[in-house]
Structure formats: structure tokens, C-alpha cells
């Protein structure tokens, strides 16, 4: 028994000694780490000095004049004057990002339906590359930047259109006043303000019809050229924000029922959007808000003048694992002040990451337009569920597969659609 104790004690001692050596090793590692940090700091300073030297005809003198040891840092220069910071990409340079997709879709709808994103209707299905999206940002100075987004969109028979989705000169005075000039995605819906064109960003394969881009059959004026003002409203933990936009939409919608029918040029006058939303401190991920939009339409070949007002509201809760997006709309068209048509619409999307790479989702959407009206006669009543799953191979590539059923007002039959999409960013 005593021998056992003795052996155990000796073993403990040996292990403890080993830990002691580890501790000593970790001290050495810490010393090495500190030395490495010092070396890195010196490298950074050297890079700054070399950059200045390249800019100066008398660089050699600058080296000896500007070097200071790390323990006594030089007064902080303005970032514009600090070449090292410029090398870090803080000020100059254009940053590119891209989004792409490859999809396949089949449905039991007749082939006459207007194709979108390069897909043709029919049970055989076909592949398409949809939208290829190039997105760039560039800082001009601390408060001014440029944002641009170009989309090469597949239309029909592998032909492509180029669309300058967004191009904005942005000036952020502070958190309470941010100005943007150029072409922007309007704040008529939450979805339009957040997801834009890149399919990789959204969970389902397609956008809900009501918030689909107008040139793909959507119901809202999704883009405009003009001025956008956003910012926070001093409201403490309530986290209120505002948005105000004034611009020209120039919306052109295809007839989503008939590929041969002429597009409708709404010839919008200037429109205004005013919105408010809150993102409270006490519920991270919660976003509740709404907006009001108004403009005047003069659709081609109709002779009508139509006042268009759109009221929208959203309740959104998103976390890295959970996504719950709900939006409702009331689109009102007043034809020459004689008759008013209302189009209610909504969608609800819920998804949850059940495993690190798997995210099942369910969406239900609804839009109900009067079939006899001047605008949206092709939409009529459409509603139905979409169900699917998204699998993310990594942070850059995701694969989605989805089944969708669309009910339509009788005598029109419902549409079953199966689609897959490989969405990626780079």
C-alpha cells in the first residue's frame, strides 16, 4: 500500500515538474510573442518610413529623422498623411466583391409565361446563370465614399443585359445624417433595402413576387435616381432610425403572364419615400418599421394618370441561426381621381439553421390585384407556399433547393415549381 502511495506521489511530482517546464516554456513563448510583436511594430514603422522615402527626393534623410522607438510613439499623424494607413487600405483603393448563381428550374406552367432570370417555363426544366453581380466600394475620405453595383442579368436564350443597379456617392456626416446621391434601391420594402441583387445573401431561391425587382415583374418601384437621407433618431435604447428618399423611379414592368405582351412603362413622376424603423438595444436582431411611398404614374398607351401610394410595414427578427421576416403592403392606385384600386400583399419567411451548414426554410406569399385594373392586371390573385433547404458548403458557396406552389384565381390553374440554385460570392 505504502509502495503504491510512494509511486503515485513520485508520478505526481514528475507530472508537476513537467508542468513546471511547460510553464517555463510558456514564459519563453510569451517572450517570443512579445519580441515578434515588437518586430511587427518596427516593420510597420519601417513600411511607413519607406513609403515616405519613396515620396521624398531626399528620402535617406527622412529615415533618420522620422524613426522613433516604439516606447515613445510619435504624435499621431492624420490618416491622409500616413502612408502606412493608406497601405492598409483605409483610405484609397477600390474594393470589389462579386455574387453569382447557377440555377435550374422546372414547372408545370405553359411556355407562354414571361421567362425571368433566363428560365423558360415548362416541365423539362432548364439551367440559367441568372444575375452576375459586381459590387464595389471605395472610400474617398473619412466621410465620403462611393458604392456601385452592376448586374449582368440573363434574360432569354442566354442573352444578357447590363443594369447599373446602384451607383451612389455617399456622405456620412455622422450617425444622424447620412446622404446618398445617385441610383439606389428604394426603401419601399425591408427586403429591397437589405438583400439587393446577390442571391447568395438570401435564404430562398427567389425573392417574393411583391418585392421582386420591377423589371422582373415585381410590384414596387424598386429603384430610383435621386437623393436618399438616412440616420438615427435620438431615442436611447429604442434605436429609432429614419429614411427619406426623393427620386425618379422610371419603372418598366413586363407582363408576367404573356411574354409577347408589351412592357408597361409606368412613366413615374418623382416619388418620395419616408420611413421609420427601430432596432432596440434590448432585443438584438429585432427590426420593426414601415414606410410610405407616393408618386404619380402615366402608363404608356393608357391615357390615364394614376396616383400611386404604397404603405409597408415589417417585423423582422434575425440572428445568425434564426431568420423571421414578415412584411405587408397596401398598394393603392387612384385613377384620375375617379376610382381607387387597392392591392394588398404580404410575405412571411422563416428559416432556422438546424446544423452548421443546413438551413431549412418556409415562405408564404400573397398578392391580390384587381384583374380589371390598368396596373397589375397580369398579377391578379397569387399566393402560396415555398419550402426548401439551403446547404452552405462554406462561407462562399451555398446550394438551395426549393418547391413552390402558386395558387391563382380561377379559372387559372395553380403552378408547381421546383428549383435549385448554386449561389456564391467571391
Amino acid at each position: 500500500m505504502s509502495r503504491t502511495f510512494t509511486m503515485f506521489a513520485i508520478t505526481c511530482l514528475l507530472v508537476a515538474t513537467s508542468y513546471g517546464q511547460n510553464s517555463s516554456s510558456s514564459d519563453q513563448a510569451e517572450t517570443i510573442k512579445l519580441l515578434q510583436q515588437e518586430v511587427e511594430m518596427l516593420k510597420t514603422r519601417l513600411a511607413a518610413v519607406e513609403s515616405r522615402q519613396e515620396q521624398s527626393p531626399n528620402g535617406a534623410q527622412l529615415v533618420s529623422a522620422t524613426y522613433t522607438p516604439a516606447a515613445a510613439p510619435a504624435p499621431a499623424p492624420a490618416v491622409q498623411d500616413n502612408p502606412a494607413m493608406q497601405n492598409f487600405g483605409l483610405v484609397k483603393g477600390i474594393k470589389f466583391q462579386g455574387f453569382g448563381e447557377v440555377g435550374w428550374k422546372a414547372n408545370d406552367h405553359h411556355a407562354g409565361q414571361t421567362p425571368t432570370f433566363g428560365f423558360s417555363n415548362g416541365p423539362n426544366g432548364n439551367f440559367s446563370i441568372g444575375d452576375f453581380d459586381l459590387f464595389l466600394t471605395s472610400r474617398i475620405n473619412e466621410k465620403t465614399s462611393v458604392l456601385a453595383e452592376m448586374v449582368f442579368g440573363e434574360s432569354d436564350a442566354q442573352s444578357f443585359d447590363i443594369d447599373m443597379e446602384r451607383v451612389l456617392l455617399k456622405y456620412d456626416h455622422n450617425d444622424y445624417l447620412k446622404l446618398s446621391f445617385g441610383r439606389f434601391h428604394t426603401a419601399t420594402s425591408y427586403y429591397n433595402s437589405v438583400f439587393h441583387s446577390g442571391k447568395w445573401l438570401q435564404t430562398p431561391v427567389n425573392r417574393p413576387l411583391v418585392v421582386e425587382f420591377a423589371n422582373d415583374g415585381g410590384l414596387l418601384p424598386t429603384q430610383a435616381v435621386g437623393l436618399s437621407v438616412t440616420g438615427k433618431i435620438p431615442s436611447g435604447k429604442l434605436g429609432l432610425n429614419y429614411v427619406f428618399e426623393y427620386g425618379t423611379s422610371d419603372t418598366i414592368r413586363p407582363d408576367i403572364n404573356d411574354r409577347e405582351a408589351a412592357e408597361t412603362d409606368e412613366s413615374n413622376g418623382n416619388g418620395i419615400t419616408a420611413g421609420i424603423y427601430m432596432k432596440p438595444d434590448w432585443a438584438q436582431g429585432l427590426d420593426i418599421g414601415g414606410s410610405f411611398y407616393h408618386d404619380r404614374l402615366n402608363p404608356t398607351d393608357t391615357g390615364f394618370h394614376i396616383g400611386q401610394s404604397i404603405i409597408s410595414g415589417h417585423v423582422v427578427y434575425t440572428t445568425p441561426k434564426f431568420e423571421f421576416i414578415n412584411e405587408a403592403f397596401l398598394i393603392q392606385h387612384a385613377v384620375d381621381g375617379l376610382r381607387t384600386f387597392n392591392t394588398p400583399a404580404f410575405y412571411s419567411l422563416i428559416s432556422y439553421s438546424v446544423a452548421p451548414k443546413w438551413r431549412p426554410f418556409f415562405m408564404y406569399q400573397y398578392a391580390n390585384a384587381n384583374s380589371t385594373r390598368v396596373i397589375f392586371d397580369d398579377v391578379a390573385l397569387r399566393h402560396g407556399p415555398s419550402v426548401g433547404v439551403r446547404y452552405d458548403f462554406n462561407s462562399y458557396v451555398g446550394f438551395k433547393t426549393q418547391y413552390e406552389h402558386t395558387f391563382r384565381r380561377t379559372p387559372l390553374s395553380g403552378i408547381n415549381t421546383v428549383s435549385t440554385q448554386l449561389a456564391f460570392r467571391f
Binding site: C12, M41, M85, L90, S138, E142, K279, P320
Partner: protein
Amino acid sequence: MKIIRNYFVVGALLMLCLPLGNVEAQQGGDVAVIVNTDNPVTSISMADLHKIFGGDKQSWGAFPAVPFVRAAKAHERDVLLSVIMKMTDAQFQDYWVKKVYSGTVAHEPLALMSTGMQLEAVRSQKGGIALMNAQDVKDGVKVIKVDGLAPGSAGYPLK
């Protein structure tokens, strides 16, 4: 004899535990929030830290807030992700891709490879803010309190 033997065994066990405690302290030390010395801010809330490193607060009022983060596999980044943002590294990167793409911010926080580079960056940017192991903080930057607590005090949240 038995008492001596037991004392010896307990002593050996205690020696086993001691280095373990040291290792834990080295890995879980307090992380300070540092800002430029010209920044008048002296304290910040956890909610505001979340906003700044999440791109929802982009100014200190008169000048822009410029967050810097450590690159992957640094204790400061682990604290940022687990305590402040409550995200994994991949989720944090995805979050910022979406944030930049939405147009609300011009670029994601610059990820720096060392504390030395972080010090340089915060010294150079008036609105600079970064997380740094408290023991690594050097002259030329200012450590601010988090929810009224300084690094090292009981209940300090960033560790």
C-alpha cells in the same frame, strides 16, 4: 509516517493544480478596449461595443468611429466574437459581407495581424477603437472602461 506520506501526496497534487491555474490565466486575461488619446470618451457600454463592431454605430459624434479587429486565432478576436458579437468567426464574416453590401457601411473592420499593428492603427486614427489583451497595452493609446468597469476589476465583462 502516514501523516508525512499523505502530506507529500497532497503537496504533489497541489503542485499539479498550480500550473493549470497559470495556464488558464494566460489564456483568459482581461481584454481592454483602447481608443485614440484624442478621443474624449472614457467609458463605453457593451451595447455600444456591439454597435461599433457590428457597424450600427459609425461615429463618436464629431468624427467617425473606426473599429479594428484582430485576425483569427487571437484571444482578442475570441472575446469579440463570443462576448460582444455572440457569433462564430464564419457568422461574423458573413454578417459583414451583408452589412457592406446593404450599403450602410463602406467596409468591414480592418483585421490586423498583431497587437503592434493595432496599436499603430489606433494611434493613427482619431476614431480608432480596438480590443487588446490588457497586458499588451502600451503608451500612446487610452484604455476606456466597459459598463463603468476597468480591466482587472471584478465583474469586468471582456475576458
